[in-house]
Symmetry: C2
Subunit: 441 residues, 2 copies
């Protein structure tokens, strides 16, 4: 395989994320020279539609003018100042926006990566229980097929065995809730159901649990699986009644991805903690935050000598570049009513997938909520029944101008919330064409 | 206590890092309006000398023109594009710079916070051992008084009991190496010593260890403790002979903070992994990286089906805003020979501390290396022998215009590498004045 100069230089030193680097020998990295809106511009090929929002974070696409301007303006003031014992208009403004978008919460704690944010929420939950008379509550549970990040703790909360097996020796044991009411079709259309009986198997852990961690409604990395929002209601009722925290990882789902500020709103539920990242800064720079209640905060509030403070402190907590991007993104979401548009265009995107499914007969289990739609390749069909079918499709898709990046054999669209309809249509056409080619092969 | 409007708004919603929030009642947050060079400008008081580089990261001070310009230029292209299966001139350029600064390494893996970077290194080490015939190597050790971050794993690697005690239930057991040859005075002046006998107690763990994690030369959060660089040589010899990895957390010490690219250079040692953050982007936005060798990389390189790839993937891996800042910072360091200047000015800063110690008679154990100098308040003296003496000093220091932020009762300077000498002198004068006032109180 002939490599461009940049590709050779890349492969010499750069260890890419989430990869068996040997794969790069036959599928060398695409050289990005610029990006604007929903398009990535490459050095040697045409533009690529970023249908996955660059790992689910570029909620307003690339080079968003207002977000960039906010960052440029902030640079005139400062990029980053330690947040311990300091404050500034920007970060307070961000807190106020986050709180006003999330009635019921009153406190905001910042961290960097999404993984860091989940660590913060779990640490807060455990420490709260330990110092508020519930010392026996030391365990956490999470859901089957969960994904919560890349640190050892968040891998343990997750259920992606392949990724975490080598690290088992360092991981705490986190039991998984197994009976999840997964759904097909359009999540928004589902009527309420009572799932409380699904939680009966949890009863044996009720006295030792500190908290339950969930990706609400949508499990992303676990395979773009949607479950019934009423299940969250059951979880909230069950945990509330027992003094167990509910921790919602809204890193993927929150801030408009599913057409709402929080996916838990589909269930009318306020968890004790909600974690945001990705769309919060419109995918500009890493920032996560944990929103929580006065009740939790008060469980830490005491004289210094009692040792009850929350001592977590990432260096870049409250970074002003990220905060400026976040404020601009939240203002844009609100002013342009982006989430409402998502809720509407979601139907259109779902139909596109249904059409491809109907025409090709090769997609099973079309499902969606907000601006995420997914389906499974029917691996029993000739042409698709091969090893790493999703990966093969990916390599071909980019040659046609679409950054379709299947998860295993699940194809999905998770585009910028402001993507143009014609790009969605074009993406569906490319996907259809690809599938037909595979079926014919 | 009367609060400004911003202070009241802050305390309503913002949960500050590393804090018992009740302390903020009597010491409300300082409002930062702008920052330039080594100065923070406040709304209601005068400028503050940022003598701790905003938690040790603003290595070139605030508002550095070249770093800002690089970020503005990069924004014209893109802010962030998924790094899986893509590449770009900027990130390759950064890799090449990092590798050329660190002969012996050949591969670079990126993450976000410093904590994330340490997680990456530990995960790589463990996975390497597991899949290269050393399945019994599952344990890690670290040093007494260590600090490696805020996630559960990195807290477990650390030895700051107070901060981690509430989370014990989730933490893997990590044994600590206890006999550390701590030193006083100027680290650069120390002659070689053979510390191999200090490692004899480790022999019983030799067969189960995957790696040993260290902050080389300087343990920051543990109390600004310096130890003899020759100890790292002993650790490297001992680990190399046994197939155990040495992992250097250079997040604080690396990229010029101690006057060298890596603190391990004082010992002429190449660990299997070195982790950088903080000064790497000159404190612009969160980015960390792990440098490692071809040998490690090759232990992951295989056919996809073998499952030997390294699947770590933070969303923002290789973020272009951070990468642009990093490239600009590294270029500035090199062109302006910043590290050489640090080595020289370090002597001056050390002398300032020695002078304060001599004049006040209140500082014990003056110690330094590169651009970090520290000393312990003599708590036996009248005026200093009170609870939270360091914290009391801090509150008074900011009123005099110095962000002196003692760690417990240890005072230290860790200024931007390009701080003006007169600001160093002024800082020393303020500290002296403060100590005299305490002694008289
Ligand atoms: C639900 C969820 N939680 C946590 C994370 C981890 O965030 P990060 O990659 O920023 O560490 C992700 C990233 O995809 C996610 O989808
Ligand atoms: C030696 C060391 N390791 C790790 C970290 C954690 O980095 P971060 O705060 O970016 O997570 C720090 C932060 O101060 C540090 O000093």
């Amino acid at each position: 395989m002939s490599l461009s100069n940049l590709q050779s230089r890349d492969l010499k030193h750069l260890w890419h994320p989430c990869a068996q680097m040997k794969d790069y020998e036959t599928f060398p990295p695409m050289e990005i020279v610029s990006a604007k809106g929903s398009l990535l511009h490459t050095a040697n090929d045409g533009p690529l539609i970023d249908i996955i929002s660059s790992w689910w974070c570029k909620s307003l696409g690339h080079g968003h003018d207002e977000v960039q301007q906010a960052v440029r303006d902030q640079m005139e003031k400062f990029e980053h100042v330690i947040l311990a014992n300091t404050s500034n208009e920007l970060i307070v403004n961000l807190c106020e926006k986050l709180i006003s978008l999330n009635p019921g919460y009153n406190k905001v704690f910042f961290a960097d990566s999404g993984s860091d944010g989940v660590e913060v929420a779990v640490k807060m939950s455990l420490q709260y229980q330990q110092q508020n008379g519930q010392e026996q509550r030391k365990k956490f549970m999470s859901l089957q097929n969960a994904y919560h990040g890349e640190t050892i703790l968040t891998l343990a909360l997750g259920d992606c065995g392949l990724y975490s097996a080598p690290y088992a020796a360092l991981m705490p044991e986190i039991k998984k809730i197994l009976d999840i009411p997964y759904v097909s079709g359009k999540v928004e259309d589902l009527p309420f159901e009572d799932f409380s009986s699904l939680l009966e198997p949890l009863e044996e852990y009720a006295d030792e649990l500190a908290g339950i961690v969930i990706e609400p409604v949508l499990q992303g990395a676990g395979g773009m699986l949607f479950y019934h929002p009423s299940f969250i209601k059951a979880l909230r009722d069950w945990t509330s009644a027992r003094g167990i925290h509910l921790i919602a990882d809204e890193i993927l789902t929150g801030m408009g991805r599913l057409g709402k500020v929080r996916a838990c709103e589909f269930a009318g539920v306020l968890p004790d903690f909600s974690v945001f990242s990705k769309s919060m800064t419109a995918g500009f720079t890493p920032m996560s935050c944990v929103l929580t209640t006065d009740e939790i905060y008060n469980g830490f509030y005491d004289d210094y000598e009692t040792g009850r403070g929350f001592m977590h402190s990432n260096t870049y907590t409250g970074n002003a570049i990220s905060a400026a991007a976040a404020v601009a993104a939240l203002e844009f979401y609100e002013r342009e009513q982006v989430f409402a548009r998502v809720a509407k265009d979601s139907v259109y995107m779902h139909e596109l997938f249904e059409d491809v499914a109907a025409e090709t007969g090769a997609l099973l289990n079309v499902r969606s909520c907000g601006f995420v739609v997914a389906a499974d390749l029917d691996m029993s069909l000739a042409g698709l029944n091969k090893k790493r079918c999703g990966y093969e499709l990916y390599k071909k898709a980019v040659r046609k101008g679409l950054l379709l990046r299947p998860l295993g054999n699940t194809v999905y669209f998770l585009p910028p919330l402001n993507i143009e309809r014609d790009l969605l249509e074009k993406s569906a056409d490319i996907m259809k064409e690809l599938i037909f080619e595979e079926l014919r092969s």
